[in-house]
Amino acid sequence: MELAHFCSTSRVVIVAGKGGVGKTTVTATLATAAARAGMSVLIVEVEGKSGLPTAFGRPALGYEEQELAPKIRGRTLTPDAALRDWLEHNGLKRISKRLVQTGALDVIATAVPGMKDILVLGKVKSLEQERSADLIVVDAPAAGHAITFLTSAHGLLDAVTVGPVRKQAKDVVELLSDPERCQVLLVTLPEETPVNEVIDTAFTIEDRVGVKLGPVVVNGCYDDLPLDAAAATAAAAKADAALLDVFVSDREAADLAAAAAFRAERAAIQRAQADRLAERLPLPQIRLPFVFGAELGVPEIGTLADAFTTGIELL
């Protein structure tokens, strides 16, 4: 599939996954790939702080849109900010400050479970309808919460039978159920527990949310070294060195071999897990390479965007 085609399948892509699997990385990667394909992208950060601005070499994100890179803008959209925003638009502007100060906002949000999530998704829906960008990428809250985030609309329709909150909930359900408007990209690591969790999450989302699931992104995959089992030994390292008339001490040959063996072992474990995921979950996969490097910054995201594009083209 062509990248441009993939990116225009749904106007909103929600990137979801457990904490630590690299959602933010995938968000930045998808945005970069889409921008290269000529699309304008808006990244929406739902949790307050994240590594996203760092990935683009910028300081921080705020409620107002900021440019992160050519054709890529970003903003935060935390539940508290969305709630305050919405209250002000619904005639509670005068007392909204008092509501926040006295903590009454907390009480209201608790009394209507899922309300904050609805308001975040409702705001995303508004952004989508305004066509503020060709593609809106939402960096969703971490895992267990991602499910409640997505199911909040259905739950709320049961709890709240009248009023503007209910209308929001209905609009959100419409957005989520339309594959041309929205899809969810699940992210995982090629390790046993994250794979189990993403399988559970996918089936739960399918049962309870009815949103389209895009390919699963498997992050952090070691690619293989150009060494077969025989070549991964200390002796083989020394043999190669001898051939090139280069000196490698015994100690160093042993270290080189041990590091190569470790990588091969981990790569094999990862492949087994990614294959198990493919068996248990009938969704296409995009495998992104492990990027060695301190912080993920612009060059690393560029590498990942290349890999992502290749992955999409292979689908």
Binding site: I108, G163, E192, L227, D240, V248, A254
Partner: protein, 394 residues
């Protein structure tokens, strides 16, 4: 305080071991391993889990929210019968809602008051809510197990949030919804004599009702009316928990991975604990990358680059060159990770100088059966871990 801590000491003499740290670092697994070691050494140990991965939960015999400890058949965790006489292992999974219900029942002035609250929708939302309530109830459960006796060692897994240790500062902050000032005003206008505020308050209620629906507001009002008078009981109980947490037999085990985000959380917890003049007794770092030799990454990368420049006229030589360069680049990358991980870990260690430290390497498989738990137990307790000495390799 600069006493020397050891992991053995935590297991032999601790009454409570609180495992804190961010999510996904192996806290629950570590808590289970500590409890198992306690049982092996002859103590009656229990591990309180919050949200264990399914397979680990199965291994511990937890098929759901048990909320009460269940003894685990010693055949499962000690098949060779190595344990010291009297050792017993139990496990439980916290049920936040049930625990809260139990507190309501205990502190209500009448059966009727209790039932009114338990049936109230707003109450059900608070008691089911995750943030704040779960952390509070984890500590409440700890209190129950401690007071009811029957356990020598209570190992507590904590929810993976920064609020896990809020109890040390301000337990009432966790249940801030119960102490919400505006609704207290709403509920008892007569008693507080705030009649003047009456009209404004009524207008406020009307506006909010329009937005979320009257039924929702009625539930909130009904809840606060019913809950009246119970806050005192909750407060007294919370104060008792704080006392327990600050006793010398309560040990703090900080669990982390060497990733930057987990380390940041670990630093945060170390600081919170330090703020209360308490100390971290043990720092456990899971999933540490191995270091292969002493060569630094920069030098190795330079070597790889030099190799790539080598002239290699024949195909055999080219292949040998590519292989050798790849080996050096690979070694450079892993030693780079190892260097950065240890630098990250050091930022926590400076705040936990008196803690015993253990590094647990990446394992080839997940840890979710007793065999694997024993394997990691061997790493943690195999040698005698003393403060500053690092097991599992520097």
């Amino acid at each position: 305080m600069s006493e020397v801590h050891t992991l053995s000491d935590v297991v032999d003499h601790g009454r409570i071991a609180v495992c804190c740290g961010s999510g996904g670092v192996g806290k629950t697994t570590t808590a289970a391993i500590i409890a198992i070691e306690g049982a092996r050494r002859g103590r009656r140990a229990v591990v309180v889990t919050i949200d264990p991965a399914k397979r680990l939960a199965n291994a511990l015999g937890l098929d759901g929210l048990t909320n009460e400890p269940r003894v685990i058949d010693p055949e499962r965790w000690d098949p060779d019968n190595d344990r010291v006489q009297g050792g017993e292992l139990s496990a439980m999974m916290l049920d936040t809602k049930s625990t809260f219900d139990g507190l309501v029942t205990r502190y209500a002035e009448s059966e009727e008051q209790a039932q009114r609250i338990l049936a109230n929708n707003f109450y059900r939302n608070i008691s089911g809510a995750l943030s704040g309530t779960q952390e509070y109830m984890a500590m409440e459960k700890l209190h129950e197990l401690y007071e009811d006796g029957g356990f020598d060692l209570i190992v507590v897994d904590t929810p993976p949030s920064r609020h896990a240790l809020d109890f040390l500062d301000a337990p009432e902050r966790l249940l801030r919804l119960l102490n919400n000032p505006i609704f207290r005003v709403l509920m008892v206008p007569a008693r507080t004599g705030l009649r003047i505020a009456g009209a404004a308050v009524q207008a406020f209620i009307r506006t909010v009702s329009r937005v979320v629906g009257a039924a929702v507001v009625d539930d909130i009002v009904a809840f606060f009316r019913s809950f009246e008078g119970m806050e005192e009981g909750f407060r007294t109980r919370a104060a008792r928990v704080v006392e327990i947490l600050k006793q010398p037999e309560t040990r703090f085990v900080l669990v982390t991975s060497p990733r930057r985000d987990a380390i940041e959380e670990a630093r945060f917890f170390a600081e919170r604990i330090g703020d209360h003049d308490l100390s971290v007794d043990a720092l456990i770092v899971n999933r540490v990358h191995p270091r292969f030799g002493e060569e630094i990454a920069v030098g190795l990368r330079a070597r790889a680059d030099t190799l790539r420049e080598l002239s290699a006229p024949t195909r055999t030589e080219r292949e040998a060159r590519d292989r050798l360069a790849a080996r050096y680049r690979n070694l450079a990358e892993f030693n780079d990770i190892a260097e950065r991980e240890r630098a990250n870990i050091e930022t926590v260690r400076v705040r936990t100088r008196s803690a015993a430290v253990a590094y647990v390497p990446y394992l080839a498989h997940d840890v979710h059966d007793f065999h694997a738990l024993a394997e990691v137990g061997e790493i943690l307790f195999g040698g005698d871990t003393a403060a500053g000495t690092v097991t599992g390799g520097e």
